[in-house]
Amino acid sequence: MRTSTIKSLAAIALTGAGSALVVGFQTPGDAVLASSTTTAGPTTTTTSTTGATAGGTASATSTTTTPTSTSAATVAPSTSTTAVAAATNYADGTYTGKAVQEPWGAFQVQAVVSGGQITEVVLVSSPQDGHSSRINDQAVPILTQAAIAAQSANIDLVSGATWTSESYVTSLQAALDQAQAAAQAGA
């Protein structure tokens, strides 16, 4: 599965303030300063389908997660502190998260890891009804930015009103679990 075939190509923009490297989906009006990265390393395209998840009303789902599980909601406990340290935790490659079933269709993202860092998050599929598409259009860039910014050496967190998609997080974490497992297998 090549990311270039995905309808929403991610783009990398180097921001002014803070020189933080963030990634967002290209939308009209957003300046694109550099375009997408190349992918090195193994490509993993594992898809598994979970049961339906309730949209919008989900409560905590991770209370039974153990440190060794592959729960989608868990970034492994050894995930460490800075971008530099985090770099050692993900093996380069493209990882497809599980398809999370929403009432209107499946939601699935793909994470691209390059140089040990998440460099792109691509929406592979999203529900097709108008309402959730609109939500996804808004939520995905913010979530992507947060995912990238959180591993940046310059920024630990991003503050902003967010309309986040649980399905996005679930699918992304599943992808990152694979990236981490690949790193551990290679270490």
Binding site: T15, G18, V23, A60, P77
Partner: protein, 247 residues
């Protein structure tokens, strides 16, 4: 050292603990607390305590102590904001402008009680920072441009404090001035740095709702640090915010 991302309260929480001795089980407990609070405070389920109070099926004195605490705090904020923040809007009870931040502090309490001294809790972009992520440096909190998800307008260095942003760039218009019922126009987002997240969240919402003078008023009235961004991406900051800026 542990990091957990989980869905909660209609958004996503990310908990990042840097203390070496804190395991994932502690973070899971914190997320569990958020789940309990969500069930109690949600306005999306008719059987929540908030909705039962709203329709008169539950007396405040019979409500859970958490509910009484939150509604009392909302009452204080309503008075202090001259009504710009009001948990009763349009005749219905909706304290969610305070609850999310307050719940974030409750989750932080779980971590503190377990001995954590260096962590952050980020609930949908509203953030509690405790200690330092690495020796000698603060948590670096980027505030995004409301007009572009790929641009950070400023970066705040925060050691012990909370950062909340209220904005009009998502969810459509979900903030209205409680006094007029009208949506504000001047500011696209207001960010407040305050000692606790419940207060920061409520003040950010109130300041945004008040319109033109809201951010300056909030900074004066609550002695908190404020940054506001308008529709053209221009930044206004309260004088003492600059001390917290790292970029």
């Amino acid at each position: 050292m542990a990091h957990l991302v989980a869905p909660t309260m209609g958004t996503t929480v990310s908990i990042d603990v840097r203390d070496p001795g804190i395991g994932l089980d502690v973070l899971e407990r914190a997320v569990g607390v958020l789940g309990e609070l969500e069930a109690r405070f949600t306005t999306w389920r008719p059987d929540s305590e908030i909705m039962r109070i709203d329709r008169g099926a539950l007396l405040l004195e019979d409500a859970h102590p958490d509910v009484r605490e939150v509604l009392a705090a909302c009452g204080v904020l309503r008075a202090e904001s001259d009504g710009a923040f009001d948990a009763w809007r349009g005749g219905h009870l909706d304290p969610s402008g305070y609850v999310k931040g307050w719940a974030g502090e409750r989750a932080a309490d779980v971590l503190r009680d377990a001995g954590a001294t260096s962590f952050s809790v980020n609930i949908g972009g509203d953030i509690v920072c405790v200690g330092e992520p690495a020796p000698g440096r603060p948590w670096r909190v980027g505030v995004r441009d409301p007009g572009s998800a790929t641009r950070i307008v400023l970066v705040l260095g925060v050691r012990d404090g909370a950062v909340a942003t209220s904005g009009l760039y998502e969810r459509g218009v979900h903030v209205t001035d409680a006094r007029t019922g009208e949506a504000p126009t001047t500011w696209r987002s207001v960010t407040v740095l305050a000692p606790d997240l419940g207060t920061a969240d409520a003040i950010a919402t109130a300041a945004l709702a008040m319109g033109d003078d809201g951010p300056a008023w909030a900074a004066r009235r609550f002695a908190c640090r404020v940054a506001a961004i308008d529709g053209d991406g221009r930044l206004w900051t309260s004088p003492d915010l600059e001390a917290a800026r790292v970029a």
